[in-house]
Protein backbone atom coordinates (compact mmCIF):
# COMPACT_ATOMS: atom_id res chain seq x y z
CA UNK A 1 0.00 0.00 0.00
CA UNK A 2 1.35 3.44 -0.87
CA UNK A 3 0.95 6.45 1.36
CA UNK A 4 1.79 10.15 1.20
CA UNK A 5 4.30 11.82 3.49
CA UNK A 6 4.34 15.61 3.37
CA UNK A 7 7.74 17.16 4.06
CA UNK A 8 7.66 20.89 4.70
CA UNK A 9 7.03 23.70 4.11
CA UNK A 10 8.62 24.10 7.55
CA UNK A 11 10.71 21.08 8.44
CA UNK A 12 14.00 20.51 10.31
CA UNK A 13 15.56 18.98 7.18
CA UNK A 14 14.81 22.04 5.02
CA UNK A 15 16.83 25.21 5.26
CA UNK A 16 14.12 27.30 3.66
CA UNK A 17 10.39 26.73 3.18
CA UNK A 18 9.11 24.54 0.40
CA UNK A 19 6.95 21.45 0.33
CA UNK A 20 7.63 17.99 -0.94
CA UNK A 21 4.74 15.52 -1.05
CA UNK A 22 6.36 12.09 -1.12
CA UNK A 23 4.38 9.07 -2.29
CA UNK A 24 5.97 6.07 -0.58
CA UNK A 25 5.74 2.32 -0.80
CA UNK A 26 7.18 1.26 2.51
CA UNK A 27 10.45 3.17 2.83
CA UNK A 28 10.84 3.59 -0.92
CA UNK A 29 9.74 6.76 -2.71
CA UNK A 30 7.52 6.11 -5.77
CA UNK A 31 6.74 9.71 -6.72
CA UNK A 32 7.12 13.24 -5.45
CA UNK A 33 5.41 16.58 -5.98
CA UNK A 34 7.08 19.90 -5.27
CA UNK A 35 5.32 23.02 -4.06
CA UNK A 36 7.02 26.40 -3.89
CA UNK A 37 5.83 29.97 -3.38
CA UNK A 38 6.25 30.29 0.39
CA UNK A 39 8.82 33.09 -0.12
CA UNK A 40 6.99 34.87 -2.94
CA UNK A 41 7.62 38.62 -2.61
CA UNK A 42 6.57 39.91 -6.03
CA UNK A 43 10.07 41.30 -6.64
CA UNK A 44 9.68 41.42 -10.45
CA UNK A 45 6.58 43.58 -10.02
CA UNK A 46 8.29 45.75 -7.39
CA UNK A 47 11.22 46.31 -9.78
CA UNK A 48 8.87 48.13 -12.17
CA UNK A 49 8.25 50.72 -9.45
CA UNK A 50 11.93 51.45 -8.69
CA UNK A 51 14.34 53.76 -10.50
CA UNK A 52 17.68 52.60 -11.89
CA UNK A 53 19.49 53.18 -8.59
CA UNK A 54 16.81 51.70 -6.35
CA UNK A 55 16.35 48.62 -8.55
CA UNK A 56 19.99 47.57 -7.90
CA UNK A 57 19.39 47.64 -4.14
CA UNK A 58 16.11 45.74 -4.61
CA UNK A 59 17.56 42.94 -6.74
CA UNK A 60 20.43 42.50 -4.29
CA UNK A 61 17.76 41.11 -1.99
CA UNK A 62 16.50 38.38 -4.32
CA UNK A 63 19.03 36.04 -2.68
CA UNK A 64 20.96 36.34 0.58
CA UNK A 65 23.91 34.25 -0.61
CA UNK A 66 24.23 35.31 -4.28
CA UNK A 67 23.43 38.97 -3.66
CA UNK A 68 26.50 40.12 -5.59
CA UNK A 69 25.73 37.88 -8.56
CA UNK A 70 22.18 39.21 -8.87
CA UNK A 71 23.28 42.84 -9.00
CA UNK A 72 26.12 41.93 -11.36
CA UNK A 73 23.69 40.33 -13.81
CA UNK A 74 21.26 43.23 -13.52
CA UNK A 75 24.00 45.86 -13.94
CA UNK A 76 25.47 44.05 -16.96
CA UNK A 77 22.03 44.14 -18.62
CA UNK A 78 21.56 47.83 -17.76
CA UNK A 79 25.08 48.61 -19.02
CA UNK A 80 24.02 47.27 -22.43
CA UNK A 81 21.10 49.73 -22.42
CA UNK A 82 23.19 52.72 -21.28
CA UNK A 83 26.42 51.97 -23.15
CA UNK A 84 28.44 52.33 -19.92
CA UNK A 85 30.99 49.50 -20.18
CA UNK A 86 32.91 49.12 -16.90
CA UNK A 87 36.67 49.86 -16.88
CA UNK A 88 39.08 46.85 -16.70
CA UNK A 89 39.81 47.25 -12.98
CA UNK A 90 36.09 47.05 -12.20
CA UNK A 91 35.82 43.90 -14.33
CA UNK A 92 38.58 42.25 -12.27
CA UNK A 93 36.99 43.31 -8.99
CA UNK A 94 33.73 41.77 -10.23
CA UNK A 95 35.56 38.47 -10.86
CA UNK A 96 37.11 38.59 -7.37
CA UNK A 97 33.77 39.27 -5.66
CA UNK A 98 32.02 36.63 -7.79
CA UNK A 99 34.54 33.95 -6.86
CA UNK A 100 34.51 34.88 -3.17
CA UNK A 101 30.75 34.55 -3.27
CA UNK A 102 31.14 31.12 -4.90
CA UNK A 103 33.51 30.07 -2.08
CA UNK A 104 31.05 31.39 0.49
CA UNK A 105 28.15 29.52 -1.12
CA UNK A 106 29.99 26.22 -1.61
CA UNK A 107 31.45 26.17 1.91
CA UNK A 108 28.06 27.04 3.41
CA UNK A 109 26.50 24.23 1.38
CA UNK A 110 29.24 21.80 2.44
CA UNK A 111 28.44 22.58 6.08
CA UNK A 112 24.73 21.97 5.60
CA UNK A 113 25.39 18.76 3.65
CA UNK A 114 27.71 17.59 6.45
CA UNK A 115 25.00 18.24 9.02
CA UNK A 116 22.48 16.23 6.99
CA UNK A 117 25.01 13.39 6.66
CA UNK A 118 25.25 13.29 10.44
CA UNK A 119 28.79 14.66 10.29
CA UNK A 120 28.43 17.50 12.80
CA UNK A 121 32.16 18.08 13.33
CA UNK A 122 32.51 18.86 9.64
CA UNK A 123 29.57 21.24 9.85
CA UNK A 124 31.45 23.25 12.48
CA UNK A 125 34.67 23.25 10.41
CA UNK A 126 32.84 24.46 7.28
CA UNK A 127 31.10 27.26 9.11
CA UNK A 128 34.39 28.36 10.68
CA UNK A 129 35.90 28.60 7.19
CA UNK A 130 32.82 30.38 5.90
CA UNK A 131 33.36 33.06 8.53
CA UNK A 132 36.83 33.65 7.10
CA UNK A 133 35.42 34.02 3.57
CA UNK A 134 32.92 36.53 4.93
CA UNK A 135 35.79 38.39 6.64
CA UNK A 136 37.44 38.85 3.23
CA UNK A 137 34.15 39.99 1.68
CA UNK A 138 33.74 42.44 4.55
CA UNK A 139 37.33 43.68 4.17
CA UNK A 140 36.60 44.51 0.52
CA UNK A 141 33.02 45.75 0.63
CA UNK A 142 32.40 46.72 4.24
CA UNK A 143 29.44 44.32 4.35
CA UNK A 144 28.94 40.64 5.10
CA UNK A 145 25.78 39.79 3.13
CA UNK A 146 24.45 42.52 0.84
CA UNK A 147 27.69 44.03 -0.41
CA UNK A 148 26.43 47.03 -2.43
CA UNK A 149 29.41 46.58 -4.74
CA UNK A 150 27.84 46.85 -8.19
CA UNK A 151 26.67 49.94 -9.99
CA UNK A 152 25.93 50.67 -13.61
CA UNK A 153 29.35 51.14 -15.22
CA UNK A 154 31.52 49.52 -12.56
CA UNK A 155 31.81 48.92 -8.84
CA UNK A 156 31.42 51.10 -5.77
CA UNK A 157 34.54 50.09 -3.83
CA UNK A 158 38.14 49.51 -4.83
CA UNK A 159 40.53 46.84 -3.58
CA UNK A 160 43.26 49.14 -2.36
CA UNK A 161 45.62 46.48 -1.04
CA UNK A 162 45.32 43.35 -3.24
CA UNK A 163 48.36 41.77 -1.53
CA UNK A 164 46.57 41.75 1.83
CA UNK A 165 43.48 40.13 0.28
CA UNK A 166 45.71 37.65 -1.54
CA UNK A 167 47.33 36.64 1.77
CA UNK A 168 43.86 36.03 3.26
CA UNK A 169 42.84 33.97 0.22
CA UNK A 170 46.03 31.87 0.38
CA UNK A 171 45.50 31.14 4.08
CA UNK A 172 41.93 30.12 3.31
CA UNK A 173 42.98 27.92 0.41
CA UNK A 174 45.54 26.14 2.57
CA UNK A 175 42.98 25.47 5.27
CA UNK A 176 40.43 24.12 2.79
CA UNK A 177 43.01 21.98 1.05
CA UNK A 178 43.91 20.39 4.39
CA UNK A 179 40.43 19.93 5.87
CA UNK A 180 37.31 20.24 3.72
CA UNK A 181 38.60 18.79 0.45
CA UNK A 182 40.32 15.60 1.78
CA UNK A 183 37.52 14.83 4.22
CA UNK A 184 34.78 15.20 1.62
CA UNK A 185 36.68 13.31 -1.04
CA UNK A 186 38.06 10.43 1.05
CA UNK A 187 36.05 10.00 4.26
CA UNK A 188 34.04 6.81 4.66
CA UNK A 189 31.11 8.70 6.18
CA UNK A 190 30.80 11.00 3.18
CA UNK A 191 31.18 8.10 0.78
CA UNK A 192 28.66 5.82 2.48
CA UNK A 193 26.01 8.54 2.79
CA UNK A 194 26.42 9.99 -0.71
CA UNK A 195 27.59 7.38 -3.25
CA UNK A 196 24.86 6.05 -5.54
CA UNK A 197 22.17 8.20 -3.89
CA UNK A 198 19.89 10.70 -5.64
CA UNK A 199 21.13 9.88 -9.13
CA UNK A 200 20.28 12.30 -11.94
CA UNK A 201 21.27 10.79 -15.27
CA UNK A 202 22.99 12.79 -18.00
CA UNK A 203 19.87 12.45 -20.20
CA UNK A 204 17.52 13.68 -17.46
CA UNK A 205 19.86 16.55 -16.53
CA UNK A 206 19.85 17.64 -20.18
CA UNK A 207 16.09 17.32 -20.69
CA UNK A 208 15.33 19.18 -17.43
CA UNK A 209 17.77 21.96 -18.43
CA UNK A 210 19.61 21.60 -15.12
CA UNK A 211 22.45 24.10 -14.61
CA UNK A 212 25.59 24.72 -12.58
CA UNK A 213 27.32 22.13 -10.36
CA UNK A 214 24.26 19.86 -10.60
CA UNK A 215 24.60 19.66 -14.38
CA UNK A 216 28.38 19.23 -14.18
CA UNK A 217 27.91 16.40 -11.64
CA UNK A 218 25.75 14.62 -14.25
CA UNK A 219 28.44 14.89 -16.90
CA UNK A 220 27.18 18.08 -18.62
CA UNK A 221 30.26 20.29 -19.15
CA UNK A 222 28.44 23.58 -18.99
CA UNK A 223 29.82 26.80 -17.46
CA UNK A 224 29.10 30.33 -18.68
CA UNK A 225 32.49 31.55 -17.43
CA UNK A 226 33.94 29.43 -20.26
CA UNK A 227 31.20 29.30 -22.90
CA UNK A 228 30.04 32.94 -22.67
CA UNK A 229 32.67 34.77 -20.60
CA UNK A 230 31.71 38.03 -18.91
CA UNK A 231 33.61 40.53 -16.69
CA UNK A 232 37.32 39.48 -16.89
CA UNK A 233 36.85 35.70 -17.06
CA UNK A 234 38.33 35.52 -20.54
CA UNK A 235 41.70 36.42 -19.00
CA UNK A 236 41.53 33.70 -16.32
CA UNK A 237 42.88 30.18 -16.61
CA UNK A 238 40.84 27.55 -14.81
CA UNK A 239 39.27 24.14 -15.30
CA UNK A 240 35.59 23.20 -15.13
CA UNK A 241 35.27 20.09 -12.94
CA UNK A 242 32.86 17.50 -14.37
CA UNK A 243 31.83 14.18 -12.82
CA UNK A 244 29.86 11.52 -14.69
CA UNK A 245 27.98 9.69 -11.90
CA UNK A 246 25.13 12.14 -11.21
CA UNK A 247 24.76 11.11 -7.55
CA UNK A 248 25.07 13.15 -4.35
CA UNK A 249 28.77 12.26 -4.11
CA UNK A 250 29.40 13.63 -7.64
CA UNK A 251 27.71 16.89 -6.66
CA UNK A 252 29.88 17.00 -3.54
CA UNK A 253 33.06 16.35 -5.54
CA UNK A 254 32.24 18.96 -8.20
CA UNK A 255 31.74 21.64 -5.56
CA UNK A 256 34.88 20.60 -3.66
CA UNK A 257 36.94 20.84 -6.85
CA UNK A 258 35.29 24.14 -7.74
CA UNK A 259 36.44 25.58 -4.41
CA UNK A 260 40.05 24.95 -5.49
CA UNK A 261 39.40 26.40 -8.98
CA UNK A 262 37.88 29.52 -7.41
CA UNK A 263 41.04 29.97 -5.33
CA UNK A 264 43.07 29.62 -8.53
CA UNK A 265 40.99 32.35 -10.22
CA UNK A 266 41.23 34.59 -7.16
CA UNK A 267 45.03 34.33 -7.10
CA UNK A 268 45.23 35.29 -10.79
CA UNK A 269 42.75 38.17 -10.54
CA UNK A 270 44.41 39.65 -7.45
CA UNK A 271 47.88 39.33 -8.95
CA UNK A 272 46.89 40.89 -12.29
CA UNK A 273 44.49 43.58 -11.00
CA UNK A 274 44.96 46.38 -13.55
CA UNK A 275 45.31 50.03 -12.48
CA UNK A 276 42.73 52.65 -13.31
CA UNK A 277 39.21 53.76 -12.50
CA UNK A 278 36.61 51.49 -10.92
CA UNK A 279 33.56 53.02 -12.61
CA UNK A 280 32.53 55.24 -15.48
CA UNK A 281 31.65 58.05 -13.08
CA UNK A 282 28.53 59.85 -12.00
CA UNK A 283 27.35 61.14 -15.38
CA UNK A 284 23.60 61.07 -15.91
CA UNK A 285 22.50 57.78 -17.45
CA UNK A 286 20.43 57.69 -20.59
CA UNK A 287 18.71 54.39 -21.34
CA UNK A 288 18.13 53.26 -24.90
CA UNK A 289 14.55 51.96 -25.12
CA UNK A 290 14.45 48.21 -25.60
CA UNK A 291 15.41 44.99 -23.89
CA UNK A 292 18.82 43.73 -22.80
CA UNK A 293 19.69 40.33 -21.40
CA UNK A 294 22.61 39.20 -19.29
CA UNK A 295 23.74 35.85 -17.91
CA UNK A 296 26.18 35.01 -15.14
CA UNK A 297 27.44 31.71 -13.70
CA UNK A 298 26.31 31.94 -10.08
CA UNK A 299 27.47 29.38 -7.47
CA UNK A 300 24.30 27.36 -8.15
CA UNK A 301 24.37 27.82 -11.93
CA UNK A 302 23.20 30.20 -14.61
CA UNK A 303 21.30 33.36 -13.62
CA UNK A 304 19.61 35.33 -16.39
CA UNK A 305 18.09 38.80 -16.29
CA UNK A 306 16.00 40.39 -19.04
CA UNK A 307 15.57 44.11 -18.47
CA UNK A 308 13.30 46.36 -20.54
CA UNK A 309 13.21 50.13 -20.67
CA UNK A 310 10.74 52.57 -22.19
CA UNK A 311 11.74 55.96 -23.58
CA UNK A 312 12.45 58.73 -21.02
CA UNK A 313 11.65 56.46 -18.10
CA UNK A 314 13.61 56.27 -14.85
CA UNK A 315 12.15 52.85 -14.03
CA UNK A 316 12.48 49.56 -15.90
CA UNK A 317 9.27 48.51 -17.60
CA UNK A 318 10.04 44.83 -16.96
CA UNK A 319 12.68 42.83 -15.10
CA UNK A 320 12.55 39.08 -15.51
CA UNK A 321 14.81 36.91 -13.37
CA UNK A 322 15.56 33.26 -14.17
CA UNK A 323 17.42 31.78 -11.22
CA UNK A 324 19.36 28.48 -11.19
CA UNK A 325 17.27 26.78 -8.52
CA UNK A 326 14.17 27.46 -10.62
CA UNK A 327 15.44 24.93 -13.18
CA UNK A 328 17.28 22.65 -10.77
CA UNK A 329 14.37 22.07 -8.41
CA UNK A 330 12.07 20.12 -10.77
CA UNK A 331 14.90 17.59 -11.14
CA UNK A 332 14.57 16.70 -7.42
CA UNK A 333 11.48 14.70 -8.37
CA UNK A 334 13.64 12.42 -10.55
CA UNK A 335 16.47 12.26 -7.98
CA UNK A 336 14.25 10.92 -5.19
CA UNK A 337 12.47 8.26 -7.28
CA UNK A 338 13.38 4.86 -5.85
CA UNK A 339 15.35 6.44 -3.01
CA UNK A 340 14.90 5.65 0.67
CA UNK A 341 12.81 8.13 2.61
CA UNK A 342 15.68 8.75 5.02
CA UNK A 343 17.91 9.93 2.17
CA UNK A 344 15.45 12.59 0.96
CA UNK A 345 16.75 15.50 3.10
CA UNK A 346 20.29 14.96 1.81
CA UNK A 347 19.15 14.49 -1.81
CA UNK A 348 17.11 17.71 -1.89
CA UNK A 349 19.94 19.58 -0.15
CA UNK A 350 22.46 18.22 -2.65
CA UNK A 351 21.16 20.55 -5.37
CA UNK A 352 22.01 23.48 -3.04
CA UNK A 353 18.52 24.91 -3.41
CA UNK A 354 17.63 28.54 -2.81
CA UNK A 355 13.89 29.01 -2.44
CA UNK A 356 14.25 32.72 -1.87
CA UNK A 357 15.67 32.99 -5.41
CA UNK A 358 13.13 30.59 -6.83
CA UNK A 359 10.09 32.38 -5.47
CA UNK A 360 11.40 35.92 -5.93
Amino acid sequence: MSYKIPMGPYHPALEEPYKLDLICDGETICDAKLHIGFNFRGIEHLAETRNYIQVVALMERVCGICSFIHTLTLCQAMEKLTGHAPPPRAQYIRVIMGELERLHSHVLWAGIAAKLMGFKTMFMTCFEIREKVMDILQAISGNRVNYSMNRIGGVNRDIEDPAAVLAMVEALEKEMAHTVIPIFTTSTTARSRCAGIGVLSHEKATSCGVVGPNARASGVPQDLRKSAPYAAYEQMEFDVPVQPDGDVRARLLVRALEIMESCKILRQALAKLPPGEISTGDAKLVFTPGTATSRVEAPRGEVMYSVSWKENSRNPSRVHVRTPTYVNMPAVRWMVLGARLADTPLIQASIDPCYSCTDR
Binding site: K33, H45, K80, G209, T291, T293, E302, S306, R322
Partner: protein
Amino acid sequence: MISLDTIRERLGVADEFTESGGVCWLAVGKASVRDVAAVMNSCEARFITITAYQLMGNDGLRLEYHWDLCGRLLGFSFLLAGNSIDSIFDLCEAVDWIEREIHEEYSVEFLGRAYEPLLLREGDAPGVNLREEFAK
Protein backbone atom coordinates in the same frame (compact mmCIF):
# COMPACT_ATOMS: atom_id res chain seq x y z
CA MET B 1 28.51 23.32 -33.61
CA ILE B 2 25.43 24.00 -35.71
CA SER B 3 25.52 27.40 -37.39
CA LEU B 4 22.82 30.04 -37.16
CA ASP B 5 22.28 29.70 -40.92
CA THR B 6 21.39 26.04 -40.44
CA ILE B 7 18.76 27.03 -37.89
CA ARG B 8 17.29 29.56 -40.32
CA GLU B 9 17.18 26.94 -43.06
CA ARG B 10 15.52 24.36 -40.83
CA LEU B 11 12.87 26.92 -39.87
CA GLY B 12 12.44 28.07 -43.48
CA VAL B 13 13.25 31.67 -42.59
CA ALA B 14 15.00 33.98 -45.08
CA ASP B 15 15.87 36.79 -42.65
CA GLU B 16 19.20 36.80 -40.82
CA PHE B 17 19.66 36.61 -37.05
CA THR B 18 20.16 40.09 -35.58
CA GLU B 19 22.05 40.74 -32.36
CA SER B 20 20.47 43.10 -29.86
CA GLY B 21 20.89 43.51 -26.09
CA GLY B 22 23.05 40.40 -25.81
CA VAL B 23 20.64 38.12 -27.69
CA CYS B 24 20.68 36.78 -31.27
CA TRP B 25 17.09 37.31 -32.41
CA LEU B 26 15.36 35.63 -35.31
CA ALA B 27 12.00 36.75 -36.67
CA VAL B 28 10.51 33.34 -37.41
CA GLY B 29 7.66 34.48 -39.66
CA LYS B 30 5.14 31.71 -40.07
CA ALA B 31 7.04 29.14 -38.03
CA SER B 32 5.27 28.27 -34.79
CA VAL B 33 6.70 28.03 -31.30
CA ARG B 34 6.56 24.24 -31.66
CA ASP B 35 8.56 24.39 -34.90
CA VAL B 36 11.21 26.43 -33.11
CA ALA B 37 11.30 24.01 -30.16
CA ALA B 38 11.70 21.04 -32.52
CA VAL B 39 14.58 22.74 -34.36
CA MET B 40 16.24 23.75 -31.09
CA ASN B 41 15.98 20.14 -29.90
CA SER B 42 17.53 18.92 -33.13
CA CYS B 43 20.45 21.34 -32.54
CA GLU B 44 20.82 20.16 -28.92
CA ALA B 45 20.22 23.71 -27.73
CA ARG B 46 19.38 24.18 -24.05
CA PHE B 47 16.10 25.84 -23.11
CA ILE B 48 16.61 28.73 -20.69
CA THR B 49 13.34 30.54 -20.09
CA ILE B 50 10.31 32.39 -21.44
CA THR B 51 9.87 36.07 -20.67
CA ALA B 52 6.38 37.52 -20.93
CA TYR B 53 5.66 41.17 -21.70
CA GLN B 54 2.36 42.97 -21.54
CA LEU B 55 2.20 45.38 -24.47
CA MET B 56 0.81 48.90 -24.42
CA GLY B 57 -2.93 49.45 -24.51
CA ASN B 58 -4.85 46.53 -25.94
CA ASP B 59 -1.94 45.13 -27.94
CA GLY B 60 -1.89 41.94 -25.88
CA LEU B 61 1.15 39.99 -24.85
CA ARG B 62 4.54 39.02 -26.24
CA LEU B 63 6.44 35.92 -25.21
CA GLU B 64 10.20 35.68 -25.72
CA TYR B 65 11.72 32.19 -25.74
CA HIS B 66 15.43 31.97 -24.88
CA TRP B 67 17.70 29.07 -25.79
CA ASP B 68 21.43 28.53 -25.32
CA LEU B 69 23.42 27.14 -28.22
CA CYS B 70 27.01 26.48 -27.06
CA GLY B 71 27.11 29.68 -25.01
CA ARG B 72 25.27 31.79 -27.59
CA LEU B 73 21.93 33.19 -26.42
CA LEU B 74 19.17 32.81 -29.03
CA GLY B 75 15.82 34.59 -28.82
CA PHE B 76 12.49 33.98 -30.57
CA SER B 77 9.62 36.37 -30.02
CA PHE B 78 5.91 35.52 -30.42
CA LEU B 79 2.95 37.87 -30.30
CA LEU B 80 -0.07 36.18 -28.80
CA ALA B 81 -3.27 35.98 -30.75
CA GLY B 82 -5.70 36.26 -27.87
CA ASN B 83 -4.58 34.75 -24.62
CA SER B 84 -3.20 31.46 -25.80
CA ILE B 85 -0.22 29.78 -27.41
CA ASP B 86 0.77 26.16 -27.99
CA SER B 87 2.62 24.50 -25.16
CA ILE B 88 6.02 22.97 -25.90
CA PHE B 89 6.03 20.90 -22.72
CA ASP B 90 5.86 17.61 -24.65
CA LEU B 91 8.93 18.68 -26.68
CA CYS B 92 10.89 20.27 -23.87
CA GLU B 93 10.44 19.15 -20.27
CA ALA B 94 12.33 22.18 -18.96
CA VAL B 95 9.47 24.59 -19.80
CA ASP B 96 7.11 23.05 -17.25
CA TRP B 97 7.50 25.54 -14.41
CA ILE B 98 7.86 28.69 -16.53
CA GLU B 99 4.71 27.88 -18.57
CA ARG B 100 2.83 27.36 -15.33
CA GLU B 101 4.25 30.59 -13.90
CA ILE B 102 3.28 32.66 -16.95
CA HIS B 103 -0.18 31.10 -16.87
CA GLU B 104 -0.43 32.23 -13.28
CA GLU B 105 1.09 35.68 -13.67
CA TYR B 106 -0.36 36.71 -17.03
CA SER B 107 -3.31 34.34 -17.44
CA VAL B 108 -1.85 32.90 -20.67
CA GLU B 109 -3.24 29.52 -21.74
CA PHE B 110 -0.63 27.06 -22.98
CA LEU B 111 -2.60 24.74 -25.22
CA GLY B 112 -2.13 21.00 -25.30
CA ARG B 113 -1.02 20.33 -21.77
CA ALA B 114 -2.57 19.65 -18.40
CA TYR B 115 -1.92 22.07 -15.57
CA GLU B 116 -0.86 21.14 -12.11
CA PRO B 117 -2.11 23.47 -9.36
CA LEU B 118 -0.68 26.97 -9.53
CA LEU B 119 2.97 27.33 -8.77
CA LEU B 120 3.70 30.51 -6.84
CA ARG B 121 0.36 31.60 -5.46
CA GLU B 122 -1.78 28.52 -5.15
CA GLY B 123 -5.46 29.34 -4.83
CA ASP B 124 -5.36 32.83 -6.34
CA ALA B 125 -6.88 33.72 -9.70
CA PRO B 126 -4.51 33.60 -12.72
CA GLY B 127 -3.14 36.93 -13.83
CA VAL B 128 -3.23 38.70 -10.49
CA ASN B 129 0.50 39.18 -10.19
CA LEU B 130 1.75 41.06 -13.22
CA ARG B 131 -1.14 41.67 -15.57
CA GLU B 132 -2.33 45.23 -15.08
CA GLU B 133 -6.06 44.90 -15.77
CA PHE B 134 -6.30 41.87 -13.45
CA ALA B 135 -4.44 43.66 -10.66
CA LYS B 136 -7.04 46.46 -10.72
